[in-house]
């Protein structure tokens, strides 16, 4: 038989002013299992807590009900108090007779009755409490950052500077991401490479950072503090331990391949470094284009390499490590506008380029060494049309969202053209100009004063006549059609999640929104967390944003990781779901509704009469379970239950309230 003690708090006059606390205590004495009940002025005070401890000893109490303020206020206080006693901290229930009784009612009689009912409910529940024990899980103080763009770089550096180990994973041969492709950054017109390459070098030199390029996420298991991560190192065919990055192989390789880094506007070799400042500054072989790997002939690079670093036998390898936290910073790519906008030529016109292509064109290290030249004939364009919102804010053809950075970089592009090509004309077709950010509106204003012609309306068609591109569109402010002849057209296209984000999200058990961006745990209050504890996000994988926002978010995610790592172990709530496997029929309804992927179906040995059988049952990973109880309501056999809020307990609460 349980030995319940009930303690009714006056909370000064907060409760006692409306509720007859003595009557509540008296009424509780009649409840089954209650061996002691009393009231006291301030239960949460030091003497109040001491009294509870004393009474536990005196009356050999094994479960406690406290009638006081909301459990959200002092449940933890009283649980901590019970740690010093023989009573398990989870053998405690709190009846909320302040916020949900004395403060909201005036009729003393009725309020007292309600308080008694609430106390009775707590007594009924506590009767079915059983000891629960928090377990602690060790935290592996090593972080994994997936994606080596500016977000990943910043996050890795912040964590590493705080003294923790970091692995930075990048699927491309070099880190740097999109930012290092850009020419200048708005609104200050800092050279993008000049501010990002030092960070890249810092990453490679940092003693706490393990840089893993040409690597992809293979598999993830485990939970916060203890993720078991398998990483696939793609074959590079160049031994980076020996290679000094002299670059001789690159000059001798006979195979030319379209350069991804220069957005298709120049060529690289089959053995290559993505760009001059690549980190690591060592080449890799592109197996899809290498003659030796494709046809078995050539091997020039191997012959010329003075250090014999080339290894055509190289294979993909995998390795596994344990991480305490993971940051997703997989970034974005530009939408494939060619398929969506045949009216803009669908990619048939060489001189209709994307914003990122323009960045390469105007970049001093780009294919034209910074001279803005038309890709078709390498002449300098005089009339340039910039079309904004290509794919953005266009639910019918592209994406419904705004890509946030395009208004500003369109202004930057206009500014750069006007600056570099004297007597040039720039026409910017826009829907709205959105410039929320420090110094942004001023920059836009300056661009207009530079002479950029802003035309409010969309371009309906781009076609070619006499070597020039004709843009036909609407000027919605004048309410008429306009036709602009251009030598070069720049489409400021929508940002979309990077290829392969779906796989990463799936492996990590986190969520994606309808557009494929990674879903944050709460849009306002938990913007860099995901719903899986220990997995954080940074940068454009979460949604379109510019560099300052990306870096801020990366540092925020790093701060979250450092916060987690500041303790060597973390307590887990014992109020998780539990499966009674003897009852479980293995239907999997719980697995489907669990938002944390904490439930998996497993096979167990069982017996049916004398026969040994294998049976499928649900199994809960208590490290992942957050205790929502959705599974318990979905279970048709009642096999799965939520500790601390069991079916039995809630039914008893209902019974007690409906007396």
């Amino acid at each position: 038989m349980s030995r319940i003690g009930v303690f009714v708090c006056h909370c000064g006059t907060n409760i006692a002013g409306t509720v007859d606390v003595a009557r509540v205590a008296e009424a509780m004495k009649a409840e089954p299992g209650v061996v002691f009940a009393t009231d006291y002025k301030y239960m949460c005070s030091e003497p109040g807590q001491q009294m509870v401890k004393d009474m536990i000893k005196e009356h050999k109490l094994d479960r406690i009900v406290i009638c006081s303020c909301t459990p959200r206020m002092h449940e933890n206080t009283f649980r901590k108090m019970l740690k010093d006693t023989d009573v398990n901290p989870y053998m405690l229930e709190i009846a909320n007779i302040r916020e949900q009784c004395s403060w909201v009612h005036t009729d003393k009689e009725k309020a007292t009755e309600k308080a008694i009912a609430l106390a009775r409910m707590a007594v009924a529940k506590v009767g079915r409490d059983f000891p629960l024990f928090t377990s602690t899980i060790p935290i592996h103080k090593k972080a994994l950052v997936i994606g080596g763009g500016i977000a990943g770089i910043q996050a890795a550096l912040d964590i590493a500077d705080a003294g923790y180990q970091v692995t930075l994973l990048e699927r491309e041969p070099s880190i740097g991401g999109r930012m290092v492709m850009l020419d200048k950054t708005f609104p200050t017109l800092d050279c993008s490479a000049c501010i990002s390459t030092p960070k890249m070098v810092e990453v490679s030199a940092h003693p706490n950072i393990e840089l893993r390029t040409s690597c992809e996420l293979e598999d993830v298991s485990g939970y916060v503090g203890n993720f078991e991560v398998t990483i696939r190192q793609k074959a590079r065919y160049v031994n980076h331990d020996i290679c000094t990055g002299c670059g001789l192989c690159e000059t001798k390789c006979p195979t030319k391949v379209i350069s991804e880094f220069n957005q298709g506007m120049s060529e690289r070799r089959a053995i290559y470094k993505s760009f001059a400042q690549a980190v690591p500054a060592k080449p890799v072989i592109d197996p899809d284009h290498c003659r030796k790997l494709q046809e078995g002939k050539c091997g020039v690079c191997q012959a010329v390499c003075p250090l014999k670093a080339i290894n055509f036998e190289d294979k993909d390898t995998t390795f596994t490590d344990t991480y305490g936290a993971i940051i997703v910073s997989t970034g974005y790519q530009l939408i494939q506008w060619q398929d969506l906008y045949p009216e803009y030529g669908g990619g048939r016109f060489k001189d209709v380029i994307s914003g990122l292509q323009f960045e390469r064109l105007v970049n001093a290290s780009g294919p034209t060494e910074g001279h803005i030249l038309r890709p078709s004939d390498q002449t300098e364009p005089k009339d340039v049309v910039i079309v904004k919102c290509v794919g953005s804010r266009d639910p019918k053809k592209g994406k419904s969202y705004c890509s946030r950075a395009c208004c500003m970089y369109a202004a930057k592009h206009a500014h750069q053209i006007l600056e570099k090509i004297p007597d040039s004309n720039v026409y910017v077709f826009y829907m709205d100009v959105r410039t929320p950010g420090k110094g942004y509106e001023e920059f836009y204003d300056r661009t207009r004063k530079d002479g950029a012609n802003y035309i409010r309306g969309r371009v309906a068609k781009i076609y070619k006549e006499g070597g020039r591109l004709i843009c036909r569109g609407e000027d919605s402010l004048l309410g008429r059609q306009v036709t602009v002849e251009a030598d070069l057209v720049i489409l400021e296209t929508a940002m979309v999640p990077a290829d392969g984000i779906g796989e990463v999200v799936h492996k990590l058990g986190i969520a994606m929104d309808a557009d494929g961006w990674v879903q944050e745990a709460h849009p306002k209050l938990r913007p860099v967390e995901t719903q899986t504890a220990g997995v954080y996000l940074a940068g454009t994988c979460q949604g379109p944003k510019d560099i300052p926002d990306t870096v801020a978010q990366a540092s925020a995610a790093a701060a979250k990781v450092c916060g987690l790592f500041s303790k060597s172990e973390m307590e887990t709530s014992p109020m998780t779901s539990k499966v009674d496997q003897s009852k479980c029929c293995g239907c999997g309804h719980c697995e489907v509704c669990c938002p944390y992927k904490a439930i998996t179906l497993v096979e167990i040995d069982d017996r049916e009469g004398p026969k040994k059988i294998r049976r499928t049952v649900a199994s809960v990973n208590s490290g992942l379970c957050q205790g929502c109880g959705c599974c318990a309501a979905a279970c048709r056999t009642g096999a799965i239950d939520l500790l601390g809020f069991t079916n039995d307990q809630i039914l008893r609460e209902v019974d007690a309230l409906c007396q």
């Binding site: 030529g345 048939r348 006549e465």
Partner: protein, 294 residues
């Protein structure tokens, strides 16, 4: 191969070259067209801009007439406007059972909406048709650069036509390539030709024609190829007018795509009505036929 056939009102008049060339090809490759008995107006322009039900019911009667024949064939329609109207009716009747019943009630005869409506681009795009045409070609227009002009109604609205592309369709380009002619890449394949507004609002509509011709010319085409009697008429008839009014020197004959096929199958100029063109159309064909050694 057989089809029910709805010629529409223009085939004996403005679309005479289209008609003659189709007939010539039919005789060569054994394509049989069964003209729908007692067909009526398709309702283009007038009906569909005034009364939705009338616009659906007029083609419904034609299609019902075809069904009554009992041949159980798809309906071939040469004119893009007729095609669009009839396709609208088929789609409406298939999507909505109530609509189909209502149409039956209006036309006073059963209409099951079983048959598909096909334009001649769709028909000639079929692999077996291409093969049949290929077999019968013994002349070529090798090297003649042509701009294939589809007009708007063979592809739009895409919900009705199910066209693969409304901006850069390729069906006609592929068919015309059978003759050895070289379709050019250009940008006005599906632009508006002004349609009937060439009659009632010439000031607004003429520039539409001009920019089509201009773009074809700018992309080095020597002729424009159409698949619609009205598109053909508009371009063919106005080109000279524009030259006269604006002092331009456009020199692009306008052919139906079937004319090129027929010519390469051996049709003489008079067989398919080359002499009926408003804009001189004989010399260019002649030049290329001769170049190819015929």
């Amino acid at each position: 191969m057989q089809f029910s056939y709805y010629p529409g009102c223009s085939m004996d008049t403005t679309g005479i070259t289209y008609k003659l060339s189709i007939e010539y090809i039919c005789s060569k490759i054994g394509l049989v067209l069964h003209e729908i008995p007692d067909w009526n107006c398709c309702g283009a322009t007038a009906a569909h801009s005034k009364n939705k039900m009338l616009a659906l019911a007029l083609p419904a009667r034609n299609l019902a007439q075809a069904e009554e024949e009992g041949l159980d064939l798809d309906v071939a329609v040469p004119c893009a406007s007729c095609y669009s109207r009839m396709k609208h009716t088929v789609v409406a009747a298939r999507q909505d059972e109530n609509m189909r019943r209502k149409l039956e009630e209006i036309i006073g005869m059963p209409y099951k909406a079983k048959a598909d409506v096909l334009n001649f681009l769709e028909i000639f795009s079929r692999p077996e048709m291409k093969r049949a045409c290929q077999e019968k070609m013994y002349r070529t227009l090798k090297g003649m650069k042509v701009a294939c002009y589809y007009g708007c109604l063979t592809s739009r609205p895409v919900e009705v036509t199910g066209a693969s592309s409304t901006e850069n369709p390729m069906e006609m380009d592929e068919i015309v390539a059978l003759t050895g002619a070289e379709p050019v890449e250009w940008d006005f394949k599906t632009e508006c030709c002004g349609a009937s507004h060439q009659v009632d609002a010439p000031k607004a509509a003429r520039p539409l024609i001009e920019r089509i011709i201009r773009n074809a010319k700018a992309n080095k085409a020597q002729a424009i190829i159409t698949a619609c009697p009205l598109c053909n008429l508009n371009l063919d008839m106005r080109e000279g007018e524009i030259n006269k009014a604006k002092g331009t020197r456009y020199d692009l004959p306008v052919y139906q795509f079937t004319e090129l096929l027929a010519v390469c199958m051996g049709a003489g100029a008079k067989d398919i009505g080359i002499h009926k063109h408003f804009f001189p159309a004989f010399d260019l064909l002649n030049e290329y036929l001769r170049k190819a050694g015929d």
